[in-house]
Symmetry: C2
Subunit: 157 residues, 2 copies
DNA sequence: TCAAATCCTATCCAATAGGTAGGAACTGAG
DNA sequence: CTCAGTTCCTACCTATTGGATAGGATTTGA
């Protein structure tokens, strides 16, 4: 399960994606998405430091996406807020860490299974963008149907 | 990421699966898998209460699997030790819980994406058994081989 | 009877999640 | 210039959880 913080971040970013390029204030987002205002403030600050959003202060300031919505993937957001997608450190690509107590990593049965899980998860989350989700997620729908992916069709961005 | 506890449980169960039907004591498992003995003791107790393993006490006692290794799936183990497979409560089948702050769940873009992730994860974990993993995971290998193209590299080799 | 095993209850500690408080700094409208 | 509305920053709080240990009661075969 991802953290509430991560869920809020995703909801806020989707909100921004829906709002075109207009800056939206934290207060507006918080009210609209039912997120505690002060908490969201901290989250947006983190997203800004990670350069997923840009901010303008003062008068009619607020936040907007730093990139087009079809260039921001769920994968990068979740990795930012919740860390690894993998179920085990040894099965993660971006946050790899050795399992101290596993004698032979290459032969570890557990790791093999978890690596395949990670691959499937990353496949979806790194391909699905905010724009996809907003549009009704055509990309993830293809994956949802559990058909082996046909490389020729269903091109995203 | 799953908890250390969950990882220990999986390692212990795999160990039992490899040991045929002979009971293995906690001390033996702990030493062999490099798990803190007293901690593993508590974990095994939980697995027994969940009827994944059976125990015999006294002289040459220990634990053994309560069912054949090809009838115990990773899914049920992980759900027991770490709860939901899904990334969001609203995307979980077995631990479903409504998102209080989401107005219209049926229209929630976030939920759609997360539901597709959950389906893929459950697909693997509910099909892969301890026996599969021990045998070199033929089931998960099939899924692993379905791994499509890397988004960053040249398409359709 | 004794040693080895499971079983049970109670702690303990550090880290994290989730959130709040209060205010400094910026910025356009008036 | 002033002011309201905004982001920004630091600090703090509390409950829960993860990970583990302590100490012993209970069972059981050699
Ligand atoms: S190497 Fe990570 S579980 Fe074995
Ligand atoms: S319904 Fe769960 S995130 Fe919207």
């Amino acid at each position: 399960m991802l953290s509430q913080r991560g869920r809020y971040a995703l909801k806020a970013l989707l909100h921004l994606g829906r709002s075109g390029g207009e800056p939206r204030g934290v207060t507006a987002i918080a009210a609209s998405e039912q997120i505690p205002r002060k908490y969201l403030e901290a989250i947006m600050s983190e997203l800004r430091r990670a350069e997923l959003v840009e901010s303008t202060r003062g008068w009619s300031g607020g936040y907007r996406l730093a990139k087009p919505a079809d260039l921001i993937t769920f994968g990068e957001i979740i990795r930012l807020t919740d860390g690894p997608l993998a179920l085990l450190p040894c099965a993660s690509r971006n946050f790899y860490k050795r399992c101290e107590d596993c004698v032979d990593e290459a032969a570890c049965a557990l790791r093999r299974v978890m690596a395949s899980v990670r691959n499937q998860v990353a496949e979806i989350l790194d391909r699905t963008t905010l724009a996809d989700a907003i549009a009704g997620s055509p990309a993830s729908r293809a994956l949802l149907d559990a058909e082996p992916v046909d490389p020729g069709s269903a091109d995203t961005a």
